[in-house]
Amino acid sequence: MSTAFVAGFAAQQSTLPSLYGSGIPALSALRERGLARFVEQGVPHTDDEDWRYADLRPLDDVQHAPAKTIALADPREHGLVDYLLGGFAQQRIVFVNGAFAPAISSTAAPLTGITCQPLSAAAALHAEICRAFIGHGLDIQRHPLAALNTALHKDGLFVHCAAGRKADGPIHAAFLSTAEGGPRAVHPRGLIVLESAAHATLVLSFQGSGALFVNAAIEIFLGEDATLDLVLLQEESEATTHTLALNAAIAGRGQCRIYSASLGGKLARTEIHARLAEAEAELSLDALLVGGHDQTHDLTARIHHSAVHTKSRQSVKSVLDDASRGAFSGRVEVAPGADGTNATQSSRSLILAPSATMNTRPELVIHADDVRCSHGATYGQLDPEALFYLRSRGIEAGEARVLLTRAFADEIIDRFPLESMRKHLHARVDGRIARKGLAGVLP
């Protein structure tokens, strides 16, 4: 059954020729296929096990127009938070409502062989790379929202590191969105290609205001011995529905280290696919979900081990207050012959209020003999004895709650790269923990 939501996007078929790449037959065809596939499949339903905890039905009756392209001279105008101005990134590339904002970006290459530019430019300047990779990571047949993004993305991040090149400073891609004039949709896109033995540190941040549907899709390709540190920072407003589909294809001895913090959004879903397709490829995922009010955070990870001695580690911590909901579904698939696979998964949750809920679903699908896989999940409240201990030393109840929650979250935050990022996250997490004393915490 087609909903108004789907029909609204179907109607944008006529706009496809106005999007970048319309002169490139392969890209035009990809967009056409993406939209057709989305319209055919519609929005994933909670009947689909993969989407059980991310209910998109509230959007069914809402038509989202494309977010307006607006000129932006001062990033502060639209809540580009201060840390972005702190200058931790040598290179910053900003997209406002999906369109490249050159006035507030700085993309001059600090080193030969490292390219950071909007996809709209790269499609022509680096046509071969784009043709080889764009649309080759995410499976639009199986992922309707990635298909929708493929069809309608206005622009996106393109990062390419040539063989052996090491980006000596972090690159920051900021996706800012506003919902001026009614419900709006934005489709942030990213293509990140690191050739063999290249290294880069990347921060992708998502921020915005208003009734937005932010539907991101990121494709990552790591060559042999390449290493990528990738921070995903989701700080949308609590009126926004945020979905992100990420696919990382990792070659032999490549290492993809993902650090994800999901703080904002009404519904925020992060879906990570990692394909460890060659020997000794590695993936790590350190994720923090912080929920309050009636927010929903859904983290879904699918790790495919299909070569020998591949390794993955998933560490997830969730802090859930009020009536917020969290979900972590982590599937590890070990293909026949992928011997020597080592996969670990842990999910620990701090439940701050009686109405907050967390669902953890570990799933191990193992078709090889010689593998080491483990998973563990814990749920708990703040320890009343620890709270009393702090209070008995003079620390006020709300402050004690903040301190203990921070101590819980710090284990993940402290693994994030970049001091300024850790500082920012500390401040954000502290700020999110309402200083409302002990209601609902103690029995």
């Binding site: 201990y389 702090l390 008995s392 030393r393 003079g394 402050e399 819980f408």
Partner: protein, 260 residues
Amino acid sequence: MTTASAPLLDVRDLHARVVDGAGILRGISLSVRPGEIHAIMGPNGSGKSTLAGVLAGRERFAVTAGSATFDGVDLLALAPEERAARGLFLGFQYPVEIPGITNAYFLRTALNSIRKANGKPELDAMEFLELLKAKARMMEMDPKFLNRSVNEGFSGGEKKRNEILQMAILEPRLAILDETDSGLDIDALKVVAAGVNALRSPERSVILVTHYQRLLDHIVPDFIHVLAHGRIVRSGGRELALELESKGYGWIESTSGAAT
């Protein structure tokens, strides 16, 4: 004795029970004046730790009757942090491990919370570090413990030493030390006792809750009270501890009917 001064702590006919538990107080009356050291002894389950918990504001206890004032203020109406700000300190029988918060950060936050509540300026990181180092030396504590998570992986003796370090930093007017001697070997006991003795002053009072009299060889109390079945059944001077030592708690429990 300083009978002329007003009591710092005045407990009258206090009745309390542990929520979801067995501990109970059936009418405790106790006056502690500035500078006095009182020892509260008694067998297991007599209500010693219940009394310590009620006075410090542990929320698992419900007070059903009676009163307790601290420096003339209704102690039982105050939140635990307000009691701490007014100068009450509880040394825990089982100090809590808090992963992720360093001892130094914890202590600075605690001290500055109390200073702030009393209208005093907060100490900055440097000033605090000086103070902390000096007090740690006094407690013969390895500085490495200051940068470790609170009590995490500490031995029993290190935890108790850490409690006394906290007391030394916070400089309370009344310290209630709940079985601070339990689980300590004789060397650790001496260090802890020295820490307490170093803080003795005409203004500062201490309540030592202990099962054994051996702590009282190192910290000499002015008064000893014996608890049984949630009541004080004997009060006296130091000689009472010696009598208990020779006769055991069975003697008190069997004669407690006459005592009350």
